[in-house]
Amino acid sequence: MTAAAPEPKANMGRPVPRYDATAKVTGRATYASDMPLDNPAYAFLVTSAIAKGRIDRFDLDDARGVRGVIDIITHENAPKLKEAKLFSNGGYAGTTIQPLKSAEIAHDGQIIAVVIAESYEAAREAASRVKVSYTATAPSASFESAGTTTAAAKGQNAQFKEDPVVGDFAKAFEAAEVKLTASYDTPTQHHNPMELFTTSCAWMGDNLVVYEGSQYVYGLKNGVAEQLGIDADKVRVVNPYVGGGFGSRGSMTPRTAIIAGIAKRLNRPIKLVPTRDQGFTIATYRAETRHEIKLGASRDGKLVALRHEGAEISSRPDAYCVGGTKTTTRLYACPNIESLVSIVRADRNTPGFMRSPPEVPYLFALESAMDELAVKLNMDPVELRRINDTTTEPIGGKPYTSRSLMACFDEAAKAFGWSQRSPQARSMSDGDWLLGYGCAATCYPTQMAPSAARVRLQRDGRTRVEVAGHEIGTGAYTVIAQTAAERLGVPLEKVAVFLGDSDLPPAPVAGGSNSTASTCSVVMMVCDQIRQRLFKAVMPSDSIADKAKETVGISPAPSTRAAKGDRPLDIEKAFDALGVGVVEEYGEWKPEGAPLDSFRALHAGQPRFVGGHQMKDKIAYAFGAEFVEVRVNRFTHEIRCPRLVGAFAAGRIINPRTARSQLMGGLIWGMSSALLEATEVDERNARYVNDNLADYLVPVNADVPGVEVIMLSEQDDHINPVGAKGLGELANVGTNAAICNAIYHATGQRIRSLPVRLENIEV
């Protein structure tokens, strides 16, 4: 076994290699822009050079003179599209700002024209020759800018339902023996998945095929159909592989319907490959946030009062917010809690989900504050968490379905060597480097959504699983194949899985870390339907059918079946009895507590999430603890993070290999969010400045010498049939706080604003 394939512990599946491994190492995995098109025309975007104002005039003569140009689309001649409604408003879009509709400019880099040409090179040249006259007005860039408007999130964002509150914060804080008040802020960040935001559209008569990297093929299909005013069944979205999502491809962006409309008009397939810098403005991003935390505690470390106020940037028309107080008010035991989230509107493109949208900024604030409190209390920060650990969340008093937070702290602390830490700040060094150790908690809500699947079993055991899920790097193909193989008792290599195609049975968005729980739950259920048909065929009496159900039905730990004496079914015999060559079943599954309209919404491309704090009588989260070593160079003040150790508990781990990889990547994301990533906004003109991969820094290989992932065995029978908690967004939470806590330990300097750069160090 390599480090990549850890030995499974209890309630873990086998660390089999990825289903799609060979395709990916040979270059045969086809991403959206790899799909062959018949005689495509190439599109190149022209984007706005101002953030607010209007277009007075285009001068297109020069651009039209470029050899090979077919057409130039502006708001003056664009295909008419219907309004795109926000996903949070019953629609599909991540923004209501619809380019090419009028001369108005709402943000930097808005699409203002699309050049279509015979070649990519000609389209690019013509785009550079499009001349635009603007009337610009002074835009508001961010928090500091004049002209922003601020209002409470509650009431303007349908998905932000409450500012959690319990007890009497003001009174308890006033009376608290130890108090902390601190402000924190986090920067704008862009997902920058490696695959660009490409779109190819091809019409066959009235039917449209869209090749686009998407985390939600059903959402995109329905959304594009709605904008084009056509039946959703006429639209097919295909993307068997997605080159990274991280949230950027979860909701529909305006480009898709525009390209589809142009392709229809020109009666020719169109291929759009936007540039990296255009990706900063034609999709979404993680908005910058501001926080104030107030903690009151007794001398022995018990929290008595907690207040978290957050403010987030959004666009003028759209009240997007992540509202992480739903989590930070429930993480620790505390009788008096208050919170408030506000949205600040600026002249920006609408932000959106980015890997652990609420938890990354909000736990940065809380977990930094917890460390500051530990310093004030002269207490080990791990012990402070232990003292305030809880099995019920403090706002509604609901029990956690399972919570291994302190077990994670203990495992990670041991692996890291936390006991070697000298508690005093600035007390450890190694040559040119000041050393600091820091830690923080992470958590992420466990979420599920309705999903459908079709499974076909042939008599030779070959199995085909179809579900419109998404392979964004998480290992979706692999865990679905494992689930089907295990459930049907067929060899893994006989299972074929088909994902990423809206002609397949609907699955939810690959977001909120719900995919494994949702798609594997439905695949389990449909496999059981097949088993029951076969069992009934062989022994068509009720008692046997019941036995089949009992022994192969939905149970949290399939390994317990053996103990019940379940003998393998003779498939040949069953097929003969049924008189068929193939058994195929389709099924739709919804999690306990899902709303009545779940299945209608499932087909309409609207996920109905259940989970986290929104479950009836319980609350479900995955937990973890992260420890980091930070080194700060005495001379250059360069900050490096040579060691990241995380321990995580996330229910059943279907594949320890793919799970470990996601957690490892998450830890590195967390480090990156602390030390590297920030989109610089030019305050004068509300434009993104470092919109490329040389200047928007993400980690390179040399940045991460040591990453250790520990997966704890955890069984949770109260969440979903699979017993799995999502973990794709678990590991990149809290890391930013752990790093700042370690920087404090190394230097004695508390930094409350991200990212931490060498100029912020004052040793």
Binding site: A49, R67, E121, R124, E125, S128, D277, D432, N633, F635, T636, H637, E638, R640, L675, L676, E680, V681, D682, R684, V689, N690, A694, D695, L697, P699, V700, N701, A702, D703, R757, L758, E759
Partner: protein
């Protein structure tokens, strides 16, 4: 990217003729209608961004057989301008006798880019100023002379604190040039009239009132080689950056010392990441000559190196950082085992 005619040069004469064909339209060099293509890592990049719009591209890679030799002869070094960064960085004798050169190359860009980029192209690389690279900003004196400078009061964390003018604060981004200027390299230039040589220190021009003029190279001239006298085994290149690799310098120092019996006989200090051109800190290095090294001296040198530095909103930190980098590089050079 605008259309261009592509020609492959078969010999230097042909290349020079092709590059100087339309001399009148060829000034300044940065806007010349004919541009040489070597590794392409600057030219193709900037052509895609529409920053450079040559009508003709002359591929000079076929000259590599004559212009890419790496020739250390024990007492001097000659480097062909078309030698690849990676080959020079990996050369055993360069690593031994000129570590500042090897490290400045090794710490630059990525393995792929170092395989492509040539030494000549490397020293001619252009600034990474975001406002220069984004043609949607009209106000860039380097791109559009007289249009203003968007960086002056914009996001200027990466910008220069030395050698700036009221017209331009764009940083010279390279690493290798600092090693060359520190070692008093001579650059050999091939043009219509044959070959001429000049001190490398005279190649780059500070922006002053003409930031569009970046070098003294004339259209139709190509760098064909660099040469350095002496061996500099006691030399280091120290580079500070946010990321551990694959990033331009926030601040760097090329330091070369000749120390005998504890006394500094000769000292060279050049600065990168902080200046508009490859920057030789001559006044600072003068403080070292004839002295014995100690920490206080390092501090005096570091302060002298940045005596004229001028920071702006986001880049003032480079002054303090630059001083610490210089002091540390000196320390490393003094204590290195050779």
């Amino acid at each position: 990217m605008r259309s261009f005619s592509y020609r492959r040069a078969s010999d230097p004469d042909m290349a020079v003729r092709a590059l100087s064909a339309a001399a009148a339209a060829n000034n300044p060099l940065t806007k010349a209608t004919a541009q040489p293509l070597a590794g392409g890592t600057t030219l193709i990049d900037l052509m895609k961004l529409d920053v450079m719009r040559p009508a003709a591209v002359v591929d000079i890679n076929p000259l590599a057989h004559a212009w890419s030799a790496i020739e250390p002869d024990g007492e001097a070094l000659r480097l062909g301008a078309l030698a690849k960064m990676s080959d020079v960085a990996a050369h055993a004798e360069i690593r031994r006798s000129y570590p500042v050169i090897a490290d400045s190359l090794r710490l630059a860009a990525s393995a792929q880019l170092r395989n492509m980029a040539t030494l000549g192209g490397n020293v001619m690389q252009r600034t990474r100023c975001s406002y220069f690279r984004d043609v949607s900003y009209e106000n860039c004196n380097k791109r559009n002379p007289g249009s203003g400078c968007a960086a002056m009061d914009g996001v200027n964390r990466m910008h220069a604190v030395l050698g700036t003018s009221d017209q331009c604060i764009a940083t010279y981004p390279g690493d290798f040039a600092q090693a060359l200027i520190a070692l008093d390299a001579v650059v050999e230039i091939t043009g219509k009239a044959g070959t001429r040589s000049m001190p490398f220190a005279q190649l780059h021009k500070a922006p002053g009132s003409t930031p569009e003029i970046e070098t003294t190279l004339q259209p139709g001239e190509l760098i064909s080689a660099f040469s350095i006298q002496g061996r500099w085994p006691r030399s280091v290149y120290l580079k500070a950056r946010d990321r551990q690799s694959y990033e331009f310098a926030l601040s760097s120092a090329a330091v070369a010392l000749d120390v005998q019996d504890g006394t500094i006989r000769d000292a060279r200090v050049a600065l990168g990441g902080v200046a508009t051109v490859p920057w030789r800190a001559r006044e600072a290095e003068a403080l070292l000559k004839g002295e014995k090294f100690d920490e206080a001296l390092a501090q005096r040198v570091a302060h002298a190196a940045f005596a004229d530095a001028r920071g702006r909103r986001h880049n003032s930190f480079k002054i303090g950082l630059g001083r610490r980098v210089v002091a540390r590089a000196l320390q490393q050079a003094v204590t290195m085992e050779i």
